[in-house]
Amino acid sequence: MLSSFTSWFADPNLQWILMGSLLLGLGSGVIGSFAYLRKQSLLGDALAHAALPGICIAFMLSGVKSMGLFILGAIISGALATFGIHAITRFSRIKQDAALGIVLSVFFGIGVVLMTKIQHSGNGNQSGLDKYMFGQAASMMLSDVYLVGAVSLVLILICALLFKEFKLVSFDPGFARGMGMRTAFLEQLLLLMTVIAVVIGIQAVGVVLVAALLITPAVAARYWTDRLGVMVVFAGVFGGLSGAVGTMISGTLSNLPTGPVTVLAATLLFAVSALFAPNRGLIAKLMRRSRQRVEVRQWAGTPESGLGAAASRRYAGERSADS
């Protein structure tokens, strides 16, 4: 185990892949913070599932496994899915959560059918498309890794530049629009960035679980702070850690898919945050409550609370009534 670990680190290819997944997690965590605060956590999941048919069709049309084409296909089918969700909520009485459920499963169903068809065809085996279901970071080609890393950096850079705009659009879009901010553009941009974060993460983490890399780090980060800037940084760090740990463990243990390991790592960080975070954490909350209980009891026992005196008066009254 240890020797495989060290040999793994000596491989420059794998070092790059590790770097790539770290950046991927960082970018996903940062974008995910905004998706989470805008209550669009599930949308990321729907987009990821919707990407599968896009990727399959891109492969069927071109016959080559190219990250760029896959991203294009995923964005198109992601856009179709978003449009579908929008149309369903607009033209029927169905609410958004149900619309998300319908669109997510339909697109994923189509994707699985197409993928099965590809695998039964001649060049199916070398397509490596099966890796897209649960992710296999180690199967990424170096050019893909560069692309993933570069795109993640661009996403982070956009978030840093438009931090103020994204903040206001997430907190109070009506007010933002009233003061002349291009909210429709900013919301579309955030959505597009979410799609891109999801799509570049698919090969490393997989269609099924990539949304967890978007949301879990953000939710965990929210426990530690009441400042958006700090939360975004924490979410990025948590995402980066999860991505790197997932890649390392799945790379050293024989062919374990990266997605599940990454998600487990992220969930562990979440559990630690939910338990131990100051203020919002469960333990801090329990301690605060028990401290308050003690304080209230002490206060109730003191003369200035009035409770002790009133109780003794009532007691005295009862006694005189008895006699």
């Binding site: 605060l37 209550k39 438009l162 009506g174 009233g178 003061m179 002349g180 901010m181 400042r227």
Partner: protein
């Protein structure tokens, strides 16, 4: 020729073919406090949102200081309904107030010391300077409302739109808001307030807009805020209210 701070002509808004506002026209004089009154669903908030360009209008024209809204944005301040945002958002009171400056800052630029000082000044005006660093979910409803008011003040506007600032606030906050409205009026600013409490209308507002799908009446409070007009605006419901108040005063005697 004097230009009005706000001119609205034939404004019509519909939600999915159902008209909510039907051809509403009025001019608002400068330096007045204006109450927008009407029953639930009368289109009060819709009117505000339509004038701010937040929802599409079917027809009509809104002029602010003689120009189109998008040209005059920096002269307009807005206080949305308090329930319209998630107060568990990771931010603090001062930060929310600074958001009032984002429109003036423009793209990419971050708020700096100048914005910070102005925001603190606005928080002080609503009596909240000690709570500047408080996470917004830990503020009471009235304090949250005052944060929203301070944010609108930070917009340094000449025309303000306030959507139910008095909804669900305690007496302290109500007093603070009234004092603030008076101060804005003394500075020659114009404030439109969506309001529900008929008992305080005459005390708070110089001018009223009575709304029920269309414009029922509009003008100075003494002239327009009459039982007759209220009857037209609220229908039978106001009669019950009056009977109730009459019997209540009779019971006291």
């Amino acid at each position: 020729m004097t230009t009005y701070p706000l001119e609205v002509e034939r404004l019509t808004v519909a939600y999915q073919k159902k008209p909510v506002l039907n051809s509403v026209s009025f001019n608002i004089p400068a330096g007045k406090l204006i109450g927008i009154l009407g029953p639930n669903g009368a289109g009060k908030s819709t009117l505000l949102k339509a004038m701010l360009g937040l929802i599409p209008v079917v027809d009509g024209d809104v002029k602010i200081f003689g120009g189109a809204y998008h040209e005059q944005r920096k002269r307009v301040g807005y206080v949305p309904q308090r329930e319209s945002v998630d107060w568990d958002f990771p931010t603090h009171a001062l930060d929310v107030v600074m958001m009032g400056r984002y429109g003036h800052l423009g793209w990419f630029r971050r708020p700096g010391a100048a914005e910070r000082n102005l925001a603190l000044e606005c928080l002080t005006k609503v009596g909240m300077s000690e709570l500047a660093g408080r996470q917004i979910s830990q503020l009471s409803g009235g304090q949250q409302q005052r944060v929203f008011l301070a944010r609108a003040l930070a917009q340094t506007a000449d025309l303000y739109f306030m959507d139910e600032p008095f909804a669900g606030v305690d007496a302290t906050t109500e007093k603070a808001i009234v004092a603030l409205l008076q101060e804005l009026k003394e500075q020659g600013k114009t404030v439109l307030v969506v309001h529900h409490d008929l008992a305080t209308v005459e005390q708070y507002f110089d001018h009223v807009l009575l709304l029920n799908g269309g414009l029922v009446a509009e003008g100075p409070t003494q002239e327009v805020f009459t039982p007759d007009n209220l009857q037209k605006t609220y229908g039978g419901r106001i009669a019950i209210l009056q009977d109730f108040s009459a019997s209540a005063s009779a019971g006291q005697v």
